[in-house]
Symmetry: C2
Subunit: 316 residues, 2 copies
Amino acid sequence: MMTAERELTGDLLAVRVAELYYDDNKTQDEIGSLLGITRWKVGRLLAHARDAGIVRIEIVHPRARRLGLERRLCERFGLTNAIVVPAASDDELGATVSRAAADYLTALRPVPRSLGISWGRTLQDVVGALAPGWATGVTVTQINGGVTLNRRAGTAATTAVTMADKGAGRAVLLPSPAILERPETKRAIESDRTVAEVLRLAEGSSVFLYSAGVADESSVLVESGYLSADDVTELARRGAVGDVVGRFINANGNVVDPSLDERTLGLGHHVLRSADTAIFVVAGAAKHDIARAVVASGLCTVIVTDEETALELLEG
Amino acid sequence: MMTAERELTGDLLAVRVAELYYDDNKTQDEIGSLLGITRWKVGRLLAHARDAGIVRIEIVHPRARRLGLERRLCERFGLTNAIVVPAASDDELGATVSRAAADYLTALRPVPRSLGISWGRTLQDVVGALAPGWATGVTVTQINGGVTLNRRAGTAATTAVTMADKGAGRAVLLPSPAILERPETKRAIESDRTVAEVLRLAEGSSVFLYSAGVADESSVLVESGYLSADDVTELARRGAVGDVVGRFINANGNVVDPSLDERTLGLGHHVLRSADTAIFVVAGAAKHDIARAVVASGLCTVIVTDEETALELLEG
DNA sequence: GCCGCGCGTGCGCATATGAGCAAACCGCCG
DNA sequence: CGGCGGTTTGCTCATATGCGCACGCGCGGC
C-alpha cells in the first residue's frame, strides 16, 4: 500500500487505522509510522473506533451469551445473576435458552441439595438438556400441583423424575391437582399429611427453578383442563399477563383473582420472593409481559432468557 | 458470576473466554484464574476463537475497505494494488466505489503528472468525488474518442476538464468520435496532426484511469449513437463481455471484432497492458464478466471495486 | 512391553499496549 | 493583544500480550 496519506477527516482515519490493526494485524507502532502519526494517537483512534461502533466485535456461537445485557439486567432488577443467549431462529429459541438454563444449573455452586421445580414445556426442555451427573444426591420437589389431570398425563412427573435421576437423587411429587374447584377442597387436600409434607419440603428447597405461562387460551392450564378458555380471557381482561406456578399475576406481580388463588394448590409466591435462589427460565416474544412482571416484582433472583426478551425488559 | 465451571468441551470454553475478554474486557490473567486455566491457555483459546471465526471483528463504515480481499486479488491476478469497498445498497454502490477511486488517486504517490482517462458514468462519479487540490499541475488527457457525437454532448469533455481543474492542471481533449464508419476515415483522423499529438501525449501518461462498459444494449456506445443495439447484440453473440476504452473484448481479453476495432479511435489495449499504473474502476454485478476479463488479461495494475465483484473474481 | 513421535502445556522474555499526567494548542472573550 | 478553560498531544511507566522453546503425557508401531 502507499505511504503518506492526505489528511483525512473524522472517522476516516480511524477506519484506516482499524483496518490495518484488525484486518491486517499490524502493530500500532507500524500503523503510526505508516500513516505518519504517533502510536498513541493510533491507540486512541482505535479506542474511538471501538466505542463509536466502527469496529464491531461479535461472538458468533449458538452457546454464546450476551454479557453486557446480563450485567444491565442484574443492575436494573437487582438480580444476583442473569443469563442471556443470542436470539436464534424462533423455533431454536426455546432450545437454546433451555440449554443455557441447564448449563447454569450444572455450573451452580454450591451444588443444590434440594431443588423445587414447576413443570411445563420449558422445564421439560431444560431437563432434556441436562447432562447425567449434573448433581449428586439432589432432591427434586414439585412446587405446584398437576400430576393427574394433565391430558399428557405424567409429563409433570416425568420432568421431576428425570431431573432427579440425572442428578443421582430422588424426586418428590406433589400428588394433587393444580387448581381445585372449591377453596375448601383445596384446604382439605393441603392439610392432608402427604401433601403437607411435600409442600413443607418444597418450601425448604435451597433452589427453585420455574418458568411461566402466558394468560391466553394457549396456557397449559387450559390445555390441561384446569381452566376454560373463557376463564383465562376473563383473567386477561382483569390484567393478568401470565401465570407463575399456576397463579396468575398482573403487570405489578400481584395475584389477579384472589378467589382463584384460594383454589390453587402449590407454593405461594412469597416463598419464591424470599428464596435465596429462584431461577426463572423464559423465552420468546409471547412471554415478554409475564417476564417483565416476574423480574420487576422480585419473583426471581436469576433469569435465563434470550436476547430479545432481555432487550425488551431493559426498555422501560 | 459463579466461580469454578464444569469441564467444557471444544469451542465452548473458547466462547466463554472470548466473551469475558471482548464483552467484559477482562485481562487474560483474570480470565485465567476465573476459569482455573493458565493465562497462556487463555491466549491460545482467544487465538483459536479468532481464526475459527467464533469471534468476528468487523469494520462497519461506508468508507471501510476489505483488506483481505484486496490482498488476495493482488496475489491472484498479479496486481500492484487493489481497493475493495464493502458492498453497500445497490444504488450506493457506484458512489462508494467512485469515492474509493478518488481517495486512491488522491493518495497516490508520486502525485501523477500526466493522467490518461476514459469517460463514462463511472469516471464522472470519480471526478465528482475528487477534492479540489488532489494534484498540482496535472495534465489530464483523454485516451479515447467521443467528444462530439455524444448525445449528452460534452460529458466526456467535462469529466476531463473538471478533473484537470481540481488538480490545478490542464485537460487535453481528444477531438474525435470514438468509432468511425470506415477504417480509412479512422486512419485519416488518426494521422491528423492535432489528433496524433493528443494520442502521443495520452500514450505517455504516467497513470491511466478507466472503467468499462457491458456488452448489451445499455452500453454508452449505443446510447451515444456510435453503435446500434443490434451491433452490440451481435458482438455479445461473438463472445464480447464488454468494452474497455471503446474496444470490445471477450473473456480472454482479446478484441472480438478486428474490423470494428480498426474503426475505433483511441489508445490500444497494449498501452494499458504495458503501463506502470493502470487503474481500473468497476462496480456492480452487471460488470462481473468484463471485470474478470480485464484483470485476468492484465489490462490493469490496480483495481478499485466492490466486495461482491471482488468475491466473484476470486471464485474461479 | 518399550520406544519414539507429536500434540498440548507451562513458562521466560521481548514487545505491544493502556492509564495517567504535564505541556501545548486552540478558540473565546475581555 | 493577553488571559483562560477545555481539549488534544506526546510521553513515562506499569502491565498485558505474543513468541519460541523445553518439557511431559498419551498413543501407536514394533
